[in-house]
């Protein structure tokens, strides 16, 4: 189903062995689908935390991935550090949707209304 590898070798894709759940008959497999090449991208990360709820999700820009720690910048400016070992699942996600007052407003002409390299 997925290309598997171990985290120690910094493979492209690694699966988490711990929090696999049985849902009906289908097995939910968590996959880390980000690499250091995704630094700068907007990502969603599911990670382990202490406390009664074992997992939580964080969305933000992947700023750095050094010494086994990922640094995520949340949209509200908060910087979150996540040890690699707490990583359960992750993937790159598209830019945030345009909401409310921004919708319908003319986009920045320099970004939208000009011919740009593909």
């Amino acid at each position: 189903m997925f290309l598997l590898g171990s985290r120690a070798t910094d493979s492209l894709v690694s699966t988490s062995t711990v929090p696999c759940r049985q849902q009906g008959r289908s097995l939910v497999v968590y996959v880390v689908r980000i690499t250091r090449a995704d630094i700068g991208a907007r990502v969603v990360i599911r990670r382990r935390i202490a406390g009664p709820v074992p997992l939580t999700d964080v969305i933000g820009t992947l700023q750095a991935w050094t010494a086994g720690v990922l640094t995520i910048a949340h949209a509200n400016g908060e910087i979150i550090s996540i040890p690699e070992d707490d990583l359960i699942a992750a993937k790159v996600i598209p830019p945030p949707p345009i909401r409310g007052a921004q919708r319908g407003r003319r986009q920045d002409p320099d970004a939208q209304d000009v011919e740009a390299r593909p």
């Binding site: 949707p97 002409p109 209304d113």
Partner: protein, 292 residues
């Protein structure tokens, strides 16, 4: 570049429908002195004359294969298929005449100037689209521009029944899915509304926008200034253009007129964008202080 060509441009963009080729030629005359004398309509006529037999061959083959025969060989049947038109334009403009885009066109002012694009046979997607539109209209093929983010394409047919072609790749057909992928690649969610006909005024605003952005990148203030000034001649334009002209004039040492533009901008956006208005006012004051 002359007061007369500016006045003519202001006049052309207020006609309905706008004469795209003429408007583009007037834009080019700002950059190339001999552009005004270039025979743009003649060049487009010749391209249309070369494309006509190709289109006729396609449509007569189609009618011979199935439906009722049309009129005489030179006349296009009324029930014309946009696919035939797309193929005929691809064959004659793209393959035979060799019109297509190049990577280097994104860094070249000439890729935005219609007479140069007709001469050199390559340019930005938007200029090639203008050629496709002009030739299509000469052939009696309905067509309209579709302004995808960052890339102009052409729809042949009507909004009810059309095919999309990409003049930048020589007029190859693209599917709606290709267009949607392009929209999403630009980070914009796709909807069918993005395939709606673009107005010729918006198209010209985009031509000038391309020139402004390129000139800003290469720090060519003279080019940027005329592109801004032509944009200001369009019936509808964003207030920020006034600020852009003000800043350019100040950089070029015309402090008084630059300051006037900044104040005009500040007055226009006072309510909606108080911060930008205040910044423009203070820039205007410091520009006036440099007058003596």
């Amino acid at each position: 570049m002359s007061a007369r060509s500016r006045a003519q441009f202001a006049d052309v963009v207020r006609q309905t429908p706008i004469d795209l080729a003429l408007a583009c030629q007037l834009i080019a005359s700002e950059a190339e002195p001999d552009a005004e004398a270039a025979d743009v309509p003649g060049a487009l006529d010749r391209l249309a004359d070369e494309a006509r037999p190709v289109l006729v061959a396609k449509t007569t083959r189609a009618t011979a294969a199935g439906a009722t025969p049309g009129g005489s060989a030179e006349e296009l049947p009324a029930g014309q298929d946009p696919i035939d038109a797309a193929e005929a334009l691809h064959e004659s403009l793209g393959l035979r005449a060799g019109f297509a885009g190049r990577e280097s066109d994104y860094d070249d002012l000439r890729a935005s100037l219609l007479p140069a694009v007709l001469r050199r046979r390559h340019g930005l997607p938007i200029m090639l689209s203008v050629i496709w539109l002009e030739v299509a209209s000469r052939l009696g093929v309905p067509a309209y521009p579709v302004g995808l983010p960052g890339h102009m394409v052409v729809a042949l047919g009507t909004p009810r029944e059309y095919v999309l072609v990409d003049p930048f790749t020589g007029g190859r057909r693209i599917t709606v899915h290709d267009a949607a992928a392009r929209v999403r690649a630009a980070g914009v969610p796709f909807s069918r509304a993005q395939l709606a006909p673009m107005s010729f005024e918006d198209l010209l605003a985009r031509v000038l926008g391309n020139i402004r952005v390129l000139a800003a990148r290469s720090d060519a203030t003279a080019t940027r200034l005329w592109a801004v000034e032509l944009s200001l001649l369009l019936p509808h334009h964003p207030a920020s253009l006034r600020r852009e002209r003000g800043e350019l004039l100040i950089r070029r040492g015309d402090f008084l007129n630059g300051a006037t533009d900044l104040v005009t901008f500040a007055d226009a956006v006072e309510v909606a964008e108080p911060t930008a208005a205040a910044a423009a006012r203070s820039a205007a004051i410091s520009a006036r202080a440099r007058l003596n």
